[in-house]
Amino acid sequence: MNVVDTRRAKPAAKLLSGNAACAAGAIAAGCKFFAGYPITPSSEIAERLATLLPRNNGVFVQMEDEIAAMAAVIGASMGGVKALTATSGPGFSLKQENIGYAAGAEIPCVIVNVMRGGPSTGMPTRPSQADIMQSRYGSHGDYPIIVLAPASAREIYDETIRAFDLAEICRSPVVLLYDQVIAQSSETVALGAAPAAHAERKRASGPRETYKPFAVGADGIPAMARPGDGYRTHTTGLTHGEDGFPTQNPEAVDRNLSRLFTKLDHHRELIDSWETVRCDDADVVIVAIGISARAAKRAVELCRAEGKRVGLFRPITLWPFPEAALREAVKTARAVLVPELNLGQLRHEVERLLGRDRVEGINLINGEPIGPAQIAARASQLASEA
């Protein structure tokens, strides 16, 4: 990977909403293009970048719809530019067609989905965590994707930068998935120095005659040609061979589609990220993301104050799910509690990994966040039973 030095002076602490932190993170990551469509509760990202991008040698465009915004972002990235879009549930649904294109054609891009209650228009101004499965499986066909689930304004800043890095390194769409509470609450954020270096996609090099757009080395990541550099390649959403042209040759199709998955496997050390809180001796481990994880962290404190051995496992990278880290975190636990603002999407994955026997959920879908007391009460009970 190429590394670009962007060291800058350390900015002071600021009061920032999660969405504002996302916009700041995008600029720090070297994002030069945003296309979007207004949608609550993500619009502040677009509004911020409409001001920030033109001052940072970038382009902001509000498109005619969510589909066009996703397409324009992919178009900009095909031109060699780091690009971002931001949306919420209904818009995320509309973007899925082109997210699949980005996954299949391996076009780096970052998509923010600030989750709201659903289905359909749902509760635009209320928190939800009901797009956990859509973020992973929303587009048709088999494809892998990276989804990051930050839980604070500061973490949104960091994870936005990491999202761009992962998109560039892995040539994959990366989704930043967070909820309305994290998005619109303002927190004091010490942004720290802008990253000393950020990743750039692997560029095509060498003679045109020997370059194959989807041929790979050991890391599984093809080098990407930039229009204007003389390679004159073809990009398609059809299944394609190493030469980039459509093919239905079973071996070529299988090899290329399988590689989409193995290329992420090769980068799990970079991709995987999680936080554990007092899991070492825990009888009960809570698994949660976003605002539910914030409440769970407080619940761990409340339980520990009672002498109950309760811990927290928080996936920061949600997909691919950090399964090895989860298994390690629940080693001593006899019960696993999954609080979430949906009817069991995260629990579904936890049960898949750990079996159903010791896993239970706390689920809320009425537009309210789950409070620490509710989580602590059940965790404490489970710890006593354990």
């Binding site: 293009f33 033109p54 066009a68 915004a69 397409a71 972002v73 900009a76 229009p227 004159r232 990009t235």
Partner: protein, 278 residues
């Protein structure tokens, strides 16, 4: 080899390794592709700086045959992809190839906003009045009474006049030509490519296999001769007038104005912002 194109060798602009192409015998799209490549040749546009963005359908597959930076995108979205590409890379020459279903049905919203925005792009809409790739279903430009696989009783929907639509939506350049007149089509595409803003070129093409055959329109040669005898325009002329559809199908340059080009306006505003003007 056309005698009126002595210096133009189409093979210099084709990916010959992709031949033979997959178009049906008699399909008009090959003539449209020839006219585009001829226009690019006459304007001496650098293939390395040329980006061709296409959608889905028969017309969408043409990009793969052009020796340039080519992007075969999703159904109806090539204008939106091209908008991102052209804004991010104003140094590129961006051409969109779309079909009547791609551009006017599933992609209709992108078309009208591309016209309104007036970003420098050249959009070729190859209108064969049918969804050919999927086997011949009715499209937004299928003439009334025509038989298709989804209008077995004859088409009862009025059709779009794409050029009137593009003009009404604000396109800086709008033109129409038939595939029969390849040199005239080449000249029209050239004018579109040279236009500083958004250029919309409708190419009236023929689908012999799943449209002509179904409607007893004869061989491909006979279908081309219908273009000459203005058979196709007369079909429109006989049909009921609507606000979006003219009673005739005029060809040539239909609209040309010097509305500000979007990319330039955006960059000018950004330059002012960087200087702290606001």
């Amino acid at each position: 080899m056309f005698t009126d194109a002595p210096n133009f060798d189409i093979r210099n602009y084709l990916r010959m390794e992709m031949m033979p192409h997959f178009l049906c015998p008699g399909c008009g799209h090959g003539m449209a592709l020839r006219a585009l490549l001829w226009a690019l040749h006459e304007l001496d546009i650098d293939k390395d700086k040329l980006a061709v963005v296409s959608g889905i359908g028969c017309a969408g597959r043409l990009s793969a045959y052009i020796d340039a930076n080519t992007f075969h995108t999703t159904h109806g979205r090539p204008l939106a992809y091209a908008t991102g590409l052209a804004l991010a890379r104003p140094d590129l020459h961006v051409v969109v190839i779309s079909g009547d279903g791609d551009c006017l049905a599933i992609g209709g919203n992108h078309l009208i906003h591309a016209c309104r925005r007036n970003l420098k792009l050249t959009c070729l809409m190859l209108n064969n009045e049918i969804y050919g790739m999927t086997g011949g279903q009715v499209s937004p430009t299928t003439s009334e009474t025509r038989l298709t696989t989804t209008t077995p009783l004859g088409n009862t929907e009025p059709n779009f006049d794409a050029c009137a639509l593009a003009t009404a939506a604000g396109a800086g350049f709008v033109g129409r030509e038939v595939t029969r007149h390849v040199p005239k089509l080449k000249e029209l595409i050239k004018a579109g490519l040279q236009h500083p803003g958004f250029a919309f070129v409708e190419v009236l093409s023929d689908c012999t296999e799943v449209y002509g055959r179904k409607n007893d329109m004869g061989s491909s040669a006979e279908m081309v001769m219908r273009q000459k005898s203005e058979m196709r325009p007369s079909v429109y002329r006989d049909s009921v007038d609507t606000p979006f559809r003219s009673t005739d199908l005029p060809t040539g340059i239909l609209t040309r104005n010097d509305r500000p080009e979007y990319g330039a306006s955006l960059r000018r505003a950004a330059a002012l912002a960087s200087k702290g003007a606001h």
